[in-house]
Symmetry: C2
Subunit: 439 residues, 2 copies
């Protein structure tokens, strides 16, 4: 993409309404625009990151055997009356009346609807296990939306729902999602720690929040340091196999959010292994048994012909929230530092003298070659001051920069800068191409 | 994908509520499920088609220089008051009150919001031309939603908005979308004819509906037969160049919907060149000048420093409607006949004797080899009657079928069937793989 043809409205001033760094940087980098309280447009740069994150989530859900569908945003109130939640949900639910005065709502979550889909079609244990997920916009009418897309009202979530014949099978489904989540966040360049979470009235050990550590995090978390270095299950993990060993390894170390924190258990950890830090919740997996299948009549016949309510779990990833979460975890004074895997562009080329035939030519050639090799490249071909160009490129945080100026070119060289480290290296354009394609 | 692990709830009976063939086939093939009047879940098979169509639209918008962003579904009523449309829109607009009693609405379209984004950031003619689009769910509270996703209430639309300094530049923007639309529909295996459409109070010639011909179409249309054979602009079309020649070639032939039909002009066409047919609208492009920029104050300074309202156009593609439209245009007695480019899977393999080691082995090997070569393959590995298996595979309309049974295999052969023609051919598994990879 050539910057001259792109829509990248950079803000020079720090927006006053932004209280946290990710909100400030997303506004300044032209990633989002607020349309109403807690409701945002995703401008081109922001949408690219959102899509890349969504695709990683999708690939890992698919790998784990979950099936993607897409439920609508608008739901009927009657469906929520079946589970009893229509009256319970309170003011966070955006309630709507249509032209025929039917009560509708903007879905804040989809347990009821997916249970309705399940019960309409599935009758036998032979059709299980089943895990259905979607990546769809949700609405929660927060009383005081804040922190940008970190706590918006309209937000993008991946929510998966598993259906199993009994609790043992539901645990296997839970373990598949547990492992899929470990892989999902790692692929985004994040360290996400599964932490024991509230399991509600059902009790049991099948409820984990996935928390990324960031000094600006919303809540206090505690864990064993070894969790930070645990190996991530590999790409060729067999999701048909027994994954309880992996889950056991991860859950054998202490890890808890403030709500579930056990001071005594934490004190029992050797002092140099204790991590007390700030964290951001970016996912939650949760077994809830027959909470919805029972009142809604979602049953399957077992091998003995007897019908029983299915055992369900739900598995959420905050896709739009992750964009902010990654920035909280990865930024510096100059702006965002995107992990390679979710960066909106892999490389930014800075043309230091627009209109100079040699510089223009070298920039164009680099742009063509890198683009052809499959990299996503942003070419700053706009006439402007060097300082402003550097500041913009640092602000938007592309992993690599190639700076092309007349002086360097006269010696056959361009400068390659790694955003994360600030490391700079002079090299020939050929060497730059080779380096970035191999990176 | 193995059918044993997929969610494909086929209906054996024709659903009574479905009045048109696409609605009937989408329900029967397990592509959609109605959740409320005019509101559908997209089940896995349906979502795959929806995504493929969306991606073709996206690629062609990007090729034409339009930039993707994503505006939210929920908008503020105040924004619509600025253009005067809040009161005008009537009951098709789903009006919502949030917990703070602010008036909101579920966007039926986005002229106001995109104009607000534009005016917030763009000040100079130097930042033009600009074309911003998104692919987002819309809601129109139809009084009597019907025909499945053809006329749903919650529907997926691509809407693009162009911003230009004057009418001449706006015409160039219009022409780029005109050409992009020709390519978009052709890539889906459709013949879509641009037809003169109502241009509203502005008048002029810059308003076209894109209509696909289908005997079950919703409206009567008329055109010159030569339009059916017009060449489609190639992939390497230079969208920076003057495209008026292409647009002129397409618009020089008679083509009109019933509303704009001119009996005398139609009669002047040689009789064998007259086409009177049924059609389905799948897109609309439209220049509306300063209709929104004027009241909303979206202005740019020209080279002379004088500020003027920008000239705008809008360009819609009914993405979810297209899924039904393609089925209306391409089906037979046995079910859907997907064009290759939008088929949910490229190939279906039918295992005729599940549990037979040779047949299972041959199916698995075909599945692996075709999948590795990049094809999307559905393997029917479920034990069942031959008749039911054939019927399901024909119903869901995958372009190619490979039928693997013990008799054929004993002679080293499988059967390859082309869904569209019914043509069948016996060949070795190697030959089948070669044929489908090359197809």
């Amino acid at each position: 993409m050539r910057l001259s043809r792109y829509f990248l409205p950079i803000l020079k001033e720090n927006p006053k309404e932004a209280e946290i760094v990710s909100h400030r940087l997303m506004l300044r980098a032209g990633m989002i625009r607020q349309q109403s309280a807690g409701i945002y447009s995703w401008l081109p740069l922001g949408l690219k990151v959102l899509s890349k994150i969504g695709n990683i989530v999708r690939e890992e859900q698919n790998r784990a055997g979950a099936l993607e569908l897409l439920m609508p945003t608008i739901q009927s109130a009657d469906l929520w009356r079946e589970s009893g939640r229509y009256d319970d949900y309170g003011k966070e639910m955006l309630r709507i009346e249509d032209r025929h005065e039917r009560e509708m709502l903007y879905g804040p979550t989809n347990e009821e609807m997916v249970t309705e889909i399940f019960r309409s079609y599935v009758r036998s244990y032979r059709d299980l296990p089943l895990n259905l997920y979607h990546i769809q916009w949700k609405f929660r009418d927060e009383v005081r939306p804040r922190f940008g897309v970190m706590r918006g009202r309209e937000f993008l979530m991946k929510d998966a729902y598993s259906f199993d014949v009994d609790q043992e099978a539901a645990r296997a489904a839970y373990n598949r999602m547990f492992v899929a989540y470990l892989r999902t966040y790692a692929r985004m360049g994040l360290k996400a720690i599964p932490m024991k979470a509230d399991s509600g009235p059902i009790g049991g050990d099948m409820s984990h929040e996935f928390i990324i550590l960031a000094s600006t995090g919303e809540s206090q978390v505690f864990c064993h340091r070894d969790l930070l270095e645990m190996p991530i299950p590999p790409e060729d993990t067999d999701f048909q196999s027994d994954l309880s060993g992996t889950v056991k390894a991860w859950t054998s170390f202490y890890a808890a959010t403030e709500e579930k924190h056990d001071e005594a258990a934490f004190a029992a950890i050797p002092e140099d292994k204790r991590v007390a830090a700030r964290g951001i919740e970016v996912g939650h997996i949760f077994y809830f048994g027959t909470k919805y299948s029972e009142p809604m009549g979602a049953k399957v016949a077992g091998p003995d012909g007897v019908e029983k309510p299915v055992h369900m779990g739900s598995y959420g990833v905050g896709v739009s929230r992750l964009v902010a979460g990654i920035i909280e975890a990865s930024h510096d004074e100059a702006g965002i530092v995107w992990p390679d895997q979710v960066a909106p562009f892999n490389v930014g080329i800075i043309n230091m003298k627009v209109g100079d035939a040699a510089v223009d030519g070298a920039c164009n050639e680099l742009y063509q070659r890198l683009t052809k090799s499959g990299l996503d490249v942003l070419l700053d071909d706009v006439d402007g001051r060097a300082g402003g160009k550097f500041a913009t490129m640092d602000l938007i945080g592309l992993p690599w920069q190639i700076i092309v100026g007349p002086k360097g070119l006269a010696e056959g060289k361009v400068e390659v800068k790694r955003r994360a480290t600030g490391e700079r290296e002079l090299m020939t354009p050929d060497a730059a191409v080779a380096k970035l394609i191999g990176a």
